[in-house]
């Protein structure tokens, strides 16, 4: 399979990439690692006339502490996040979740900015990011703005990003020794989750239970009221709208959401008490 024809624009700076987006509008797509975009293009589900390659822009890959937050450059590849010492110390849910993406070859190419922009409800890192809470920093022709992660993913392949904006950074709170867990259920080793649950500091997010990654708000509210893990996890699928496919029907996905949420909360609680 071969993608449809397009013109490749090699951006040398963020401003350069944005200028290309302004010039070509809806006809342009950003190319980072390309591991979500190129498969879509090979299937002709996406046929952009222009690809703007941002992988040559210097300084887009980093993980650093900034006040109470950890700032991650949008170009940070999954294998870099997986091995990053700052991330391991400050927000360990992220490097662990990065290690669960696809397979080593995929993690060598895929970027955090790419997976956030793609808005696949079955993506690993967006699930962890949504549980962490935090912001997406985007840049457009008028400068930078910050979009809360809770408002960024609007639906299947749909985000709050304008067509002339580029994701430049992801910011999440430092969680330090707070308990965390990412529980992912797949049928095959390197697959997307059928359902997954991320838990950290009393917050829970779910993969593949709606058009985008979603918070398990009923579970979070129950935990805040002092409910037990079992009681709170039993509410995990409330308000979700999972799809059905050959791997799982809706009721099975709801079952998995409750089960994986319970496992994630138990593991997070165990990790928190071990750290205390």
């Amino acid at each position: 399979m071969i993608p449809g024809p397009f013109e490749l624009v090699r951006a040398t700076s963020v401003e350069d990439a944005i200028a290309a987006l302004v010039e070509h509008g809806d006809d342009a797509k950003i190319l980072a690692g390309g591991h979500s975009l190129l498969p879509l293009m090979k299937l002709r589900l996406a046929m952009p006339a222009y690809l703007v390659d941002i992988s040559g822009i210097p300084g887009m890959s980093y993980v650093r502490v900034d006040g109470d937050e950890v700032a991650i450059g949008a170009g940070t590849r999954h294998h870099e996040l997986e091995k990053d010492a700052v991330a391991a110390a400050e927000v360990p849910l992220l490097p662990y979740t990065a290690s669960q993406v696809g397979d080593p070859q995929v993690r060598h190419r895929g970027t955090i900015g790419g997976t956030v922009a793609h808005s696949d409800p079955a993506s690993d890192l967006p699930t962890a990011l949504l549980a962490l809470g935090g912001d997406v920093v985007v840049q457009g022709p008028e400068g930078r703005r910050t979009i809360p992660l809770t408002e960024f993913w609007l639906g299947f392949f749909e985000t709050a990003l304008a067509e002339d904006e580029l994701i430049v950074e992801i910011r999440v709170p430092r969680t330090g020794s707070a308990g965390w867990a990412y529980e992912k259920f797949t049928r095959r080793a390197n697959d997307w989750p059928i359902v997954a649950a991320a838990a950290v500091d009393g917050r829970v997010a779910l993969a593949n239970m709606a058009g985008s990654v979603v918070r398990a708000t009923a579970t979070e509210e129950a935990l805040a009221r002092g409910a037990s893990i079992a009681e709170a996890a039993a509410l995990a699928d409330e308000g979700t709208s999972p799809g059905a496919d050959m791997h799982a029907d809706q009721e099975y996905r709801r079952h998995l959401a409750r089960l994986l949420t319970r496992r994630a909360l138990e593991r997070a609680a165990g990790a928190a008490s071990a750290a205390a």
């Binding site: 071969i2 390659d53 080593p104 995929v106 390197n190």
Partner: protein
């Protein structure tokens, strides 16, 4: 557009369409046919090559994305005298193949596994090769081959020219 890269130590520069995939560039333009195209959907790993020290699936990379890179394919592993790379030797000695279709990608991915972890457990080898499918299901001997290569020393986790391969 013009793309330039080093393939197995040799400089190549060619006029290609932007949409040309690295797998097709290696096979049809450079003429190196060891890199197989299996699933063509980033799943099976048969097309795995090493780009700038990291294993990648060349069916999901544009040739243009390898601009300026050092690319190593299976053909680049053996020495000029035909001496096999330690990973190739181990696959032969442990019979880490049946039909052989997955083997080029499996060998390249296995070098990456050892670069990341020079003494992996059985489970760590299996997890490191999770992106490579053997439809003959000959996994036991493949895992044995990787562990046997690990005992041969650090060269088993490196591509020639002393280039380090990280996972």
């Amino acid at each position: 557009m013009q793309v330039s890269m080093t393939v197995n130590g040799q400089q190549h520069s060619d006029e290609v369409e932007p949409r040309l995939l690295l797998a097709h560039y290696l096979r049809d333009v450079v003429g190196l046919k060891a890199t197989n195209i299996g699933c063509d959907t980033t799943s099976c790993g048969a097309c795995t090559v090493i780009v700038d020290g990291l294993s990648v699936k060349s069916c999901t990379l544009l040739a243009a994305q390898a601009e300026g890179a050092e690319v190593t394919t299976l053909e680049g592993l053996a020495g000029p005298d035909g001496e096999l790379h330690p990973m190739q030797k181990a696959f032969r000695e442990e019979h880490g193949l049946q039909c052989g279709f997955c083997t080029p990608g499996m060998v390249m991915a296995a070098i990456g596994v050892l670069a990341d972890n020079p003494d992996p457990s059985d489970r760590e080898v299996r997890e490191g090769l999770e992106g490579n499918l053997c439809r003959c299901t000959g996994y036991h001997n493949i895992v044995r081959a990787v562990q046997s290569a690990a005992k041969a020393g650090p060269a088993a986790g490196q591509v020639p020219q002393g280039q380090e391969v990280a996972r």
